[in-house]
Structure formats: structure tokens, C-alpha cells
């Protein structure tokens, strides 16, 4: 039985934690929170230098050809540190989409640039305040031009290009959805930062006014590719959530051990003890589901869709709970701007919304289970 990361992967994880503790402390996160800067450029530069952006890109395309298990351990540390960088957009979304559906030419063009940090990519899916579905989406791709508004687009103000989920043809079914690569610095693209509940992470409104684009994958095949991309990203984001949830538990524990009330540490009251035990339990369930997700991702297992949904459901539950009960454990200090609790509360919420809602992933998980249980 060897259901664990390897020693090399653990070493990589330690290095990642060390780098991020050193270069991307919560001071760096607060700088992004409090200013108009969209991301921590120095941290990003360091990440690129460490080769993390090319972790799962084959050497033939300029990557370092490690794999997704390595990406998972990095993701956990990014989640723990709240590093304000466009890693998830560029690596979990854009890179994965290109690896799945890119033509040889597209791979040659984008992957080496992504690996080298010369380009930052993202995925533009959402179109406002409801789920983006073949029925609700409106952004169109016609005659090589993209038209419409995507919002929120993660790291939309930072990325050089976006993979835009577009409608091709007038239908409302999955076959009416395609993917288009659009240069965000080119003609017909306007973008502006959005005011959001997680200002430590750039989110943008991107308006396409006949912006030139090229198909990624087959026309009408976009929805299927999108699901694959989201599944793969779900595992990686789950590791970010696991890292964040673990950070919250540690903060809450430290505070509860050192905060005295009624002559004793508040950690000695069962109400707090059991709250932290509940956090630990949810975190362990999340971690274990995510390990299985990591295995399924790294082996491209047939069970990947269910494993990914399971990782995401458990990790969303864990991080949201840990983030809000970490505030609660801190009492009055917990809801001050000065304390760091809210940084995790905000990030937890964004991650839980980022790939689609908690409910939608639960639904997806059960659909996968139904297939498995089909008579």
C-alpha cells in the first residue's frame, strides 16, 4: 500500500512552503488587498524561476515534465499561503485546456511560453451572477470574432490570453458550445478589474467586441473539453483549499491556546475543543478525498470525474467551515481588518465559487455515481 506522495514530492512540498513563507507572507497578500496592484509580481517571478508553471507540461513543450502529483503539492502550499498570483488561471485552467484540446501548432505556440512565464493564460466562462450553461451563455463566436461580456474572469486583467467559452450556432445544448483562444492584449478587448469579496485575487470584466479568436478543439466540442478542464482544475483547487483549511485550523488552534478567558485558555472549553475537532475532521476528509483525486488525475483514471467532484465537494466544505469558524474562534479580534482571519474567509469563498457552485458539484458527483451504479 502506497497511498501517499513520494519522498521527492514531499521534498518539493517543503521547498514550496519554504519559498512561499519567505517570499509570499501575508504581508504580501495584504499589499494586494490594500492597493490597486493585481498580483504579486515578485512572487510570480520566483514561481516561474522555480519552474512551477511548467510542472505538468511535457519537456517537448518546454515544461519540466514532472506531473500532476507534483502540481498537487505545490497547490496545497499556494492555498496555505494565499499567494496572490495567477497560478490557477494559467496553470490549472489555460495550460490544462491546451494540453487536452490544443492542436500541435497551438501547443507549440502557447505551452513553452506558459512554462517560461512569458505568457499568462486564463479561462473566461462566467457571464454574470448565475451558472454559465449552454442555455444561459450568450458570448458568441462567429466568423472568427468573439462578441459579448465575460464576468468574472479570474486574472483577466493579468492574462495575455484567454480561453473563452463561446456559443457557436444558436442552439441551447452542449453542442452549441466551443472554446476560442483570444489575445487579451489585442483588438476588440476591453477589461477592467471588478470589485469583489476577495480583493487578494484579480477578477475582471472582459468585454469582447468582435475580438479575433481561434478555435481550441472542435467546433461544438467545447462543453466536453470544458468539463475535462474543470474536473482537472477541481482536484488542484481542492489542494489549495486543503492548504487554506489547514492554515485556518492552525491559526485557530494557536489563538485558542494563547487566548485566556475565565482564567484558562479558551482551548480548554469543550465548545472550542469540539469546534476545532470538527475542523480537523472535515480537513482530514477533504485531504483524503483529494489524495484520491490526485491519484485519479495523475493516472487519468476512468473514475476521474467522480474523484474530482468528491475532492472538490469535501474541500469546499472544509475550507468554508474552517475559515468561518477560525474567525469565530478569534472572537472580536477575528472580525477586524487588522487580523488575518478575513483573508482566508474571502479566499475560501472565492475558491468555492471559482469553478461553479457547491451545489452544482454535488449534483455532478451524484450523476457520476449514478453512471457507476447503472444496472
Amino acid at each position: 500500500m502506497n497511498f501517499d506522495f513520494s519522498d521527492d514530492q514531499k521534498l518539493l512540498k517543503d521547498q514550496a512552503r519554504k519559498f512561499l513563507t519567505d517570499k509570499s507572507s501575508l504581508k504580501v497578500v495584504r499589499h494586494i488587498l490594500d492597493t490597486d496592484e493585481t498580483y504579486a509580481k515578485d512572487v510570480w517571478k520566483g514561481i516561474v524561476e522555480l519552474g512551477w508553471t511548467g510542472t505538468a507540461i511535457p519537456e517537448a513543450y518546454g515544461g519540466i515534465g514532472l506531473g500532476h502529483l507534483e502540481l498537487c503539492v505545490i497547490a496545497e502550499e499556494l492555498g496555505r499561503s494565499l499567494a496572490p498570483v495567477p497560478f490557477s488561471s494559467s496553470v490549472y485552467l489555460a495550460t490544462e485546456a491546451l494540453l487536452i484540446a490544443g492542436s500541435e501548432e497551438q501547443k507549440q505556440k502557447y505551452l513553452p511560453a506558459l512554462a517560461a512565464g512569458e505568457m499568462i493564460g486564463t479561462l473566461a466562462l462566467s457571464e454574470g451572477t448565475q451558472a454559465a450553461t449552454p442555455k444561459t451563455m450568450k458570448v458568441s463566436f462567429d466568423g472568427g470574432k468573439v462578441k459579448g461580456v465575460k464576468m468574472p474572469v479570474p486574472d483577466g486583467d493579468i492574462a495575455n490570453f484567454a480561453i473563452v467559452v463561446v456559443k457557436t450556432g444558436g442552439g441551447a445544448d452542449e453542442k452549441s458550445v466551443s472554446l476560442a483562444i483570444v489575445d487579451l492584449t489585442g483588438a476588440g478587448v476591453t477589461r477592467s478589474p471588478l470589485k469583489t469579496l476577495d480583493p487578494t485575487h484579480n477578477l475582471s470584466t472582459v468585454t469582447f467586441d468582435n475580438a479575433p479568436g481561434q478555435l481550441l478543439g472542435a467546433q461544438g466540442g467545447g462543453w466536453a473539453v470544458l468539463q475535462q478542464v474543470l474536473d482537472r482544475a477541481a482536484v488542484l483547487v481542492a489542494f489549495e483549499q486543503v492548504g487554506g483549511a489547514d492554515a485556518c485550523l492552525n491559526m485557530a488552534k494557536e489563538y485558542a491556546l494563547n487566548r485566556y478567558a475565565f482564567g484558562r485558555p479558551i482551548a480548554s472549553f469543550q465548545a472550542i475543543k469540539h469546534k476545532l475537532a470538527d475542523m480537523y475532521i472535515k480537513n482530514e476528509l477533504a485531504r483524503s478525498n483529494s489524495y484520491y483525486g490526485a491519484w485519479a488525475l495523475s493516472t487519468n483514471a476512468p473514475d476521474l470525474a467522480a474523484a474530482a467532484a468528491g475532492s472538490r465537494v469535501a474541500a469546499t466544505e472544509a475550507f468554508n467551515f474552517a475559515a468561518k469558524e477560525n474567525i469565530q474562534t478569534h472572537g472580536g479580534m477575528g472580525f477586524t481588518w487588522e487580523f488575518d482571519c478575513h483573508l482566508y474567509y474571502r479566499r475560501a469563498k472565492w475558491l468555492s465559487l471559482s469553478l461553479g457552485s457547491h451545489l452544482s458539484w454535488k449534483d455532478k458527483l451524484v450523476s457520476e455515481l449514478e453512471k457507476r451504479n447503472a444496472a
Binding site: 462566467s126 451572477t129 477578477l203 478567558a261 475565565f262 472572537g331 457552485s357
Partner: protein, 401 residues
């Protein structure tokens, strides 16, 4: 069983309505008013007796019942009037003075508070003493006829516009924690007092920190005996509980239903989704339950019975519910739920506001955990937690770092 006034209540309500029609003038929408307008309105109310309906007449009150007070509140809430900045002075500090104050103190403070000439705030909590208020460490030391106070208070509402404050400080750290406290009135203009706003995670600042550095308070400002501060503070806290009960909800179940009608999930409008419906049902029965708990206590009040600690139930239910409901509404908006721009998000981002505000509500005025302890101990009469801090000198207690 009905929801009607008794004949006496109806008569009082008619009287109040008549008076308000003549004297209350709603602020036009969009107009900003401040403490000055609050003071002016308070003066009008005080002159008519409505500023202190339940106070005895000797103190300028109306000698009325709690039910009359509720009726006045219901009727006044029909108008858009200046904010009430007198809750601490009129609602908590003066009733305490009536019990513990000297004749001179009553003479000096009660009328100006009632007529809105002086606004009061409360210097109780400290960074290291919240739920455990008796653990305050701010020190007062006797120096001639004065006390010299050094310390740090927190969660002071209205600290920046208040004229006077009630203050609990430690005068003897070498006795048990509840025995070494003394209660004072302090003029907020006294040198050495510095008020700073606290920024909450919502970005708003509803509270202050108050730093006290060599603040001199004459001994004549002491309320009650030296060492009796906890007893005096309890009088204030009893009144605080009843003031905090009513929690304003920005958005609730009705808005959630409308949102669920407007947004699509993967397979149709959210309102058709049974998981959404289940939450609506659960939150609706909570909302209704709290509403009818309130009507049941009003009924008790109407019969002259002092209501029990149901405000603890109200807060214990509604604060976490508010957080959960807001978080869920944001889920319905999918990725867009993270947007905090009032021009873009439904209900001018009220769900998002609530989500940022709710963590504070779960803590301020009694954490979820403290409220459950209160219900367990005061309603169900279960034993208190084991105390390790009551029978040794305060200075011997461990404090963490």
C-alpha cells in the same frame, strides 16, 4: 389567541400615533443627518415623556409599562427619524445610576442624558477581556482625591461623539477578579483619552478602541463602593441584553426566494431545485419561529410578565443563519457571487454585505457559544462551567501571551 391590542394598549397606541403625527417628521430620502438632529429629536421626545416611557416620573419618565414602550417603538419605526444615540445613556447608564448613584450624581447626569444634551458611551470590554468581562486589566490607582487610569478599552460604539462614558477598571489586582473592580463615570474630554476607529472586515467602522493614559478621574465620579464595580456593571449588562435582542436583517428568505426565481442553475431556475427549496423552508421556519417567539414575549409583557432570555435564542439562531443564508445566496449566483459591486449584483450586493457582516454579528454582544451557555444556565438551570479563576488573587491568574 389573536394579534390584537387590549383596549388599554389600543388607547395608548392611538395617543402615541396622535403625538407622532404632530411631532415626528420623517427625514426625506437621501438626506444625511447626524448627532445634532438626534439630539434635537430626543429633546422633543423627552419633553413629552416618550424618551423614557418606563422611567419613574420623578426622573422625568412617563411611569409607563414595558408594553407601552414597545408600542411606542412600533409606531415610531413607521417614521424615518434621526438615529438613536442614547441607548447607552438612557437605556443602560441612567437606570444603573437610579440604583447605584448618589443623589448628587443622579442630579448631575440624568436630566442632560434624557434630554439628549449629553451622549454616553461604554468603556467595558478590553482586547483581553470580552466574553470574560470581569477579567479587565485597565488599572485605576488612587492619587489624592483623584484616580489615575491607564488601560485600553475596545468595542466602544459612539466613542468619537460621546460626552461621557461609564467605565469599569481594576482598582485592586490582589484580590479575586470580581472583587477588585470599581465603576466610574468619565468625561470623554479628559486629557489622556484617545479614541480610534476599528476597521472591521466589512470595511466599516462601527466601533472604537479607547486608549486611557494617565486619565485623572475625581473620586466623586465613582459609582458605588470601591471594589463594587462588578455588581454595578451587572446592572448595566442586564439592560444590555434586552437592548441587543432585535437584529436588523438586510435580506432574508423573501429575497432568497426572489433570487432563486431569477437565476438559473444547471438544469432550470434555482427555485425548482429541491436542495434550494429545502433551505428556504428551513430558514423560513426559523424566521417565523423567531417572529412568534417575539410575539409570545410581547404577550407576556402585555400581561405584565417580564420576558425571559428569548433574546439569546433570537441571536443564537439568527446570527449563524444570516451567515449561512448569505453564503448560500452567493452560491446561487455561481462565480458571480464573489462580485461586490452594487451596480452588478442583485439586491445591491446586500447578500454579499451580509456575508461580510455576519461574522461580527456572531460575536458582538455575546458569541454563539456564550449565548448557548446562557440558555443552558439561565433557562435550563444547568450548572455553570467549572471556574478556576474566582477564588484566587487576580494577579495570580495566567493570561496567555
Amino acid at each position: 389567541m389573536d394579534f390584537e391590542d387590549t383596549p388599554e394598549e389600543a388607547a395608548y397606541r392611538a395617543q402615541v400615533r396622535g403625538w407622532l403625527e404632530k411631532n415626528a417628521h420623517s427625514i426625506p430620502p437621501g438626506t444625511r443627518v447626524g448627532v445634532t438632529e438626534s439630539k434635537a429629536w430626543q429633546k422633543v421626545k423627552a419633553a413629552a415623556g416618550y424618551a423614557a416611557i418606563t422611567w419613574p416620573k420623578e426622573y422625568g419618565g412617563m411611569g409607563g409599562t414595558s408594553m407601552q414602550n414597545v408600542i411606542y417603538g412600533q409606531e415610531e419605526s413607521q417614521y424615518n427619524l434621526p438615529g438613536n444615540v442614547f441607548l447607552i445613556g438612557v437605556g443602560m447608564a441612567m437606570p444603573m445610576l437610579m440604583v447605584h448613584g448618589s443623589p448628587e450624581q443622579k442630579q448631575r447626569y440624568i436630566q442632560p442624558a434624557l434630554y439628549g444634551d449629553e451622549v454616553w458611551c461604554q468603556l467595558f470590554s478590553e482586547p483581553g477581556a470580552g466574553s470574560d468581562l470581569a477579567g479587565v486589566r485597565s488599572r485605576a490607582e488612587k492619587d489624592g482625591d483623584d484616580w489615575v487610569v491607564n488601560g485600553h478599552k475596545i468595542w466602544t460604539s459612539g466613542g468619537h461623539y460621546s460626552d461621557l462614558a461609564i467605565l469599569v477598571v481594576r482598582t485592586d489586582p490582589n484580590v479575586a477578579k470580581h472583587k477588585g473592580l470599581t465603576f466610574f463615570v468619565v468625561d470623554m474630554q479628559t486629557p489622556g483619552i484617545r479614541v480610534e476607529r476599528i476597521k472591521q472586515i466589512s470595511g466599516q467602522s462601527h466601533f472604537n478602541e479607547v486608549y486611557l493614559e494617565n486619565v485623572r478621574i475625581p473620586d466623586t465620579n465613582r459609582i458605588g463602593a470601591i471594589g463594587d464595580g462588578w455588581k454595578v456593571a451587572l446592572t448595566v449588562l442586564m439592560n444590555e441584553r434586552s437592548a441587543v435582542g432585535n437584529i436588523f436583517m438586510n435580506v432574508g428568505v423573501d429575497e432568497l426566494i426572489r433570487l432563486a426565481r431569477d437565476v438559473e442553475l444547471g438544469d432550470g431556475p434555482a427555485i425548482a431545485n429541491a436542495a434550494v427549496r429545502e433551505r428556504i423552508a428551513d430558514w423560513h421556519v426559523q424566521t417565523q419561529g423567531l417572529k412568534y417567539i417575539r410575539l409570545r414575549s410581547l404577550t407576556a409583557l402585555s400581561k405584565g410578565i417580564t420576558p425571559g432570555p428569548e433574546s439569546s435564542v433570537t441571536k443564537a439562531v439568527s446570527a449563524p443563519r444570516r451567515q449561512d443564508l448569505a453564503a448560500f445566496a452567493m452560491e446561487l449566483m455561481d462565480m458571480g457571487g464573489i462580485i461586490h459591486d452594487r451596480q452588478i449584483v442583485p439586491y445591491r450586493a446586500a447578500f454579499e454585505d451580509d456575508w461580510l457582516y455576519a461574522p461580527g454579528i456572531r460575536i458582538a454582544g455575546g458569541t454563539d457559544e456564550i449565548l448557548k451557555n446562557i440558555i443552558a444556565e439561565r433557562v435550563l438551570k444547568l450548572p455553570g462551567d467549572v471556574r478556576v479563576d474566582t477564588d484566587r488573587p487576580f494577579s495570580d491568574l495566567p493570561t496567555g501571551r
